[in-house]
Symmetry: D2
Subunit: 346 residues, 4 copies
């Protein structure tokens, strides 16, 4: 941590800051410039409320030099982590595909879609039982009934399951049905939920908030990891910008940045990012080329009848094309598209 | 709702859209242009999933013409709402001031600050018992112990209380201690929490998410109102932009926009918006001049010892100056700064 | 300047950086932490391309500690600057009002509007002769013919003139007609134009680019000042954010920030910021309450006939109300609304 | 164009709008809803200032249904355009690579870099003779001396040339030296410059402004096209967002969006977008996978000695790796990396 003093800071102000830092357990080294004085404070005291140094007279600003995350950062763990769900590995050589409809609407539509998704080679089935909708008048999901339908679809197809949880009170129930618990973009800084999910003993898919910096995203992961759960898959899904041609702006440069800062696997959601099925194919290919470990793609057997996010859902036949396209790009970057074990038997 | 067809849309595609709209209960009027065809659909069907029209062949885009919010909008209720807590009125002629520290740290500091806040004339006391912190290693609040200290401070000072709730499981407990329940910026789209708070029977202070549009903010209020609770105070607290000189960018133009769209009162939080006590005075005056119904300001008897947000907290003596400045601006815009009943007795 | 080395940086990498800094004329002080090493470099070498230190092996990041602007900053000149145009002073106690239509459309409309603007008490007349329009098919301004009409309006009303220049080749001509040369938001980083205007010997109104940080804005002012022209008036006019309810988001917190960093006067353009005349009144009052030294407001005698920006233009009778409202707010913050000398004679 | 009337709009207000539209040459069709009335106006009147309809009493908003660009849009020209410079084609099957240093610093460094760039297979050489720098104290380029060095490098290597122009007065000179004239991000809405470049008779590389919407970017291209020059290559180079981990946020979804809206070729600048050479490789691959027609990459033989943008420049040996990586991704999406004709002879 470096403390930059204001131009006119006095010797006694500098002394006070040094004393305070010393009390907080830091060793200090002060550099007296012609105009500005700078105090270097050595010690890894992430838990301390050192920000209050900022309120001391003569202090202009503080520059942290350590990353605020420990458990999910590369500083302490250099080797990439692999999150395993059965034979599926996120973070290894495989490109893992999660697919399915935005919301679970009814048994037959869901299972039909699940069969199509499996036929195209995806490994994990998505579906929303609890839907965070911006309007209270929109379809909010089938809740536990939806979870039961998911379970059935898993039994039928052999696919693993991921679904979103939006309330601390539902975490245990959700964990009893699915293989991966999703934290949605709107709840990325719902810290109670992060802690609860950290305790649930299941892998977590942590979406980036649409206005979260990469550092905040990793700090959200740190909340989960701090509960003892390091089975975390990060998911970039677009950030909010001034551009309105796409729903959000997919930040693919986040992939190499995250890979540099963290050992966790990172996947991409081109469907929510762009908001239009027309852009899902090109963004899927780009994500894999950029180094993503997987994708989560919305697929619906009849997008025009979908109760949520139809415009961004691929039809199954288009999804097959996207899978084939991804396969080629994956090979061009020395990765391998994971196809489920039933893929060639179909 | 208006449906804009693509340039090359065919007659049969247009017919299909008309038929679908008709099935959904709309009356349609189609305008055939030289290049584009446009279909007007009449009927207030906010609950219907009309967005799926977007997925139909030949459809380019949909333009909604009704606001998505009903209960909190001006369309159905023209007269401004007043939220009353005892003799305090948000949304009338008074400018109401909420003040206090970011977090409740211990009994003596909190009660000392509360006394200072009362002495300066504020009407409502703030304080955090549950703190949403971006790092899991930061002080997270005293929980119920904090609520008890708040209650005691209220007993001592006669001030009303507002505190944030961040977990659905704590709503009932929080509601039993305080007069106003706060939904923080990070939870503005935590829809479970909004519903739970809507049921709690207490006025709600709803902060704007730092990346929420005004429409999304009003839709969050609609969630609370849809549970039967219309005692909602909106709070602008800055939005996330590319500018880093202030923590967030205080969007004061949101005040006249909200006043035009909604009948709900709106206050401003200059402390969180700017992140620095130095800018709180000028932004407080600007907020009142812009038409805000009140302010929520962080005050701490010793900012350098604060466990949270010290840099943005005013010292009590500075807060007195700000109150006096606000009073003059309030009068210049035909409003009146509300001072608590004990103000002249002190 | 502080150089932060990566975690695994070697002794020889550190030595190399020290040597390089020394060659560039810096004195260095190195702090060896347990995990990270930090090098403080003393010397005010703003002109040096020290950023290339960033490319050296083992360097993680560089933290500048000096502001990059000199001439326009508070570090070297503490006292606020006053920009004088005749008896008008920007940056003193007066709140100065610039008003007029977006574009000069024809002689009679312009002079009629000018008379109304004077009657309401404004001191400076605005009007666009060269219009930067996002479409090549929109009205682009009357060029020199417009400047002549401006001159005539000034002769008739006695008001001072401000107009925008958008091409280096027109600077001399524009300077021969008007009292203040405006650099528009889109040209804030048109460095050729900034230099040319810096040489023109006239006061400059420098609008903030709608995506410029405050630091970039001050650096644009530095370009003008570096040519020897310190008669610069800054103008906040809204920044681009995700919010679409207003055209841009007026960043009023920029006012106290600029006042802290720079000695230059700063005014506000509520018309372009909000894009709607409905919000101009409240934002004008807010700007003055926040500490602005003046306002630039669009006024048109018949907004529905305006060739540019009609929706954001006030009618003259509404402008009179806004002037009166501003006057009261100005007094509440110990400022005084400047009225032109003919105001009471009318 | 669709005009949405306010809830309480009167019959006479509706009549007035219809009359006005009729005077402007539109045919109108009015749809009377239960709550809102909507007026459809038929006629392609892009040049008319129809926005002033917005200022009429009773009008709530206007929804355009035609794109504002004509010449660069897909509506009138469906087939993708190819911009040819000798045997190089932008917009065909080839992926064309532009490479070179940010600024031309001196003859030997530039020619050495040019030789390395050719050896790696690039087709066009970049280099800045006029540098738009945010500080007036930074290196501003060698001007015509730089252009001469470029010409020499072209003579030596056979590579085509692209350089940026920042002043209308320099366009003719620049056009006499190079093959492609670049409009930089900061000048994307410098409309005088766009027109001048439109007249210069050379292909134009038009960078997206870092806060420009895709529509504004295409409108800037329309300015050039409106002068009769349709040899335009678009270049996505990152947009300004709240994220600070990268210099800007590379908006790769802009590629499929532009391809849908326009027939112009589009390339990507991963160097300026990310601001760090470390991310250039992954973003180059992603851009090609997303459908870009080419890349512009900064390469410098000694980044630590570069006078501008060293941190984002690749060393030649790293650039060779990136070229090879791109080649594989290009094939995976049925494209072909263009290598200059000397590539196999070296």
């Amino acid at each position: 941590m470096i403390i930059i003093m204001t131009n006119g800071s006095t010797r006694s102000q500098i002394d006070d800051v040094e004393t305070k830092l010393s009390q907080l357990g830091f060793k200090t080294h002060t550099i007296y410039g012609d105009i500005k004085t700078v105090i270097g404070a050595i010690g890894d005291k992430r838990n301390l409320n050192t920000q209050t140094i900022l309120t001391m007279p003569g202090v202009e600003s503080i520059v942290p030099i350590m990353k605020p995350f420990k458990l999910v950062g590369r500083e302490l763990k250099q080797i990439p982590s692999i999150v395993r769900i059965g034979e599926i590995e996120f973070g290894g050589r495989d490109i893992v595909i999660i697919a399915g409809p935005c919301a679970i609407e009814n048994e037959s539509t869901y299972i039909d879609t699940a069969l199509k998704v499996r036929a195209a080679g995806a490994s994990v089935l998505r579906g929303g039982a609890y839907k965070p909708r911006s309007s209270p008048y929109s379809f909010q999901g089938l809740a536990e009934e939806g979870l039961k339908i998911m379970k059935e679809a898993s039994d039928v197809t052999g696919l693993k399951l991921v679904t979103e949880v939006i309330d601390t009170r539902d975490v245990e129930l959700v964990a009893s049905y699915v293989d991966i618990i999703q934290i949605g973009a709107r709840n990325m800084q719902n810290f109670s939920l992060l802690r609860e999910v950290g305790d649930a003993g299941k892998p977590v898919l942590l979406k980036r908030g649409f206005s979260a910096t990469i550092e905040e995203w990793l700090m959200a992961a740190e909340y989960i990891a701090a509960e003892g759960n390091s089975q975390i898959i990060l998911c970039e899904r677009g950030i909010r910008t001034f551009e309105t041609a796409t729903r959000n702006t997919l930040d693919l440069s986040a992939i190499p940045v995250v890979k540099e800062l963290s050992h966790l696997p990172v996947i991409v959601d081109p469907s929510h990012a762009t908001g239009s099925w027309k852009y899902v194919g090109s963004m899927s290919k780009a994500a894999v080329a950029a180094g993503a470990d997987g994708l989560i793609i919305e697929v619906h057997i009849d997008p025009s009848a979908a109760l949520s996010d139809g415009p961004q859902s691929l039809k199954p036949e288009k999804f097959i094309d996207v899978m084939n396209d991804i396969e080629r790009v994956a090979e061009a970057v020395d990765r391998k598209l994971k196809r489920n074990q039933d893929y060639f038997h179909q």
